[in-house]
Subunit: 219 residues, 2 copies
Amino acid sequence: MPPVPLPQQLHELADLLGEMCTAAAGALNRATTAMLDGRVRLAEQVIAGDARIDAMRAQIEDVATDALLFHSPVAGDLRAVVSAIRAAGDVERMGDLALHVAQVVSMRHPRPVLPPEVREDFTQMGALAVQLALKAAQVARSRNVILAVELDADDDAMDKLHRHMFTVLMDPSWPHGVPAAVDITLLARYYERFADHAVVVANHTVYAVTGEEPDAIPI
Amino acid sequence: MPPVPLPQQLHELADLLGEMCTAAAGALNRATTAMLDGRVRLAEQVIAGDARIDAMRAQIEDVATDALLFHSPVAGDLRAVVSAIRAAGDVERMGDLALHVAQVVSMRHPRPVLPPEVREDFTQMGALAVQLALKAAQVARSRNVILAVELDADDDAMDKLHRHMFTVLMDPSWPHGVPAAVDITLLARYYERFADHAVVVANHTVYAVTGEEPDAIPI
């Protein structure tokens, strides 16, 4: 059997990466709904579904390795292959973070995870994070570098929400005690990290297309 | 100028990765000392030094890209190159986590970050995390797959310390309130993530040498 042509492999990598980002977005969307509505079975679906996202990472690496082996790509094509490997690692981590949210819901069940004061913040963080993952999917598929810039603005909004959460927790009148604060600290961190990884995924595409690392890779 | 021979590039990648792990270990070691002893200038050194770790990641990617371009490596050599790229991303993140510890020290200065109850836990977590990074350096340099197994045991010890920290925080008699608990929650998470990434770095080497992903890649 002749090897798959390189352009087809690059196309497949872009599609798989887009699909993987969309799967991570779906996982976090379900985990957020499970958290807000106390739906433990939905949380368990997210937990069970993480293996699929991990498998997609392995599949991307297989296609990328084949591309390197059979075609020895150069210049932009080589960057596209290497960036796909790096981006897949970030999206796998996004899946893990959605899994972590679901695990908190499952561990705390039937107790709700969020006190009323922070429900609205988490609703917004969830929506923003899912939106970032879907935009990263679109950047990966379309290789649209202009669209990648949008993700930075969304990520700034996420950082603002994340900081606001700490203002709420640090308020001396916080009535829910340390255990709830600890859960919320970690959950907020999961959303913020998920968003950061989505930005990094888009930045990998920018690097593949332009050969330049965006300056604003978040840490 | 003739291209650098592949064996020499692979050697360089192993050395650079080892050096990078050692640098991350040094950064976390200094950040931990800064935190325990309230040494803000040491924390600032860690913050300033992170750019060097980031630069090493870029250097590893350059060498790896050259290896792919000029030698089209196959089999174990190809895995070694791709694994170096992936591992460098993990070590960069370890540097970021050391940076985050230093940033908390710097932000809270001159107030100490840790109440006395958790100093011993963080001393141990710091020592373990640094030890894991140094072992990951040794695995990267020596490609000793047997040594990689040791890291899993160390990481189990880290997880135990991490869980113990939550027991301390969740105790109804915790006297330091929510703000200290929030800091400690995040700091403990930084150490635990640092250790996880060190294990992943070692596992990348296992994959490069054996062609098999270790089952126990931590999430």
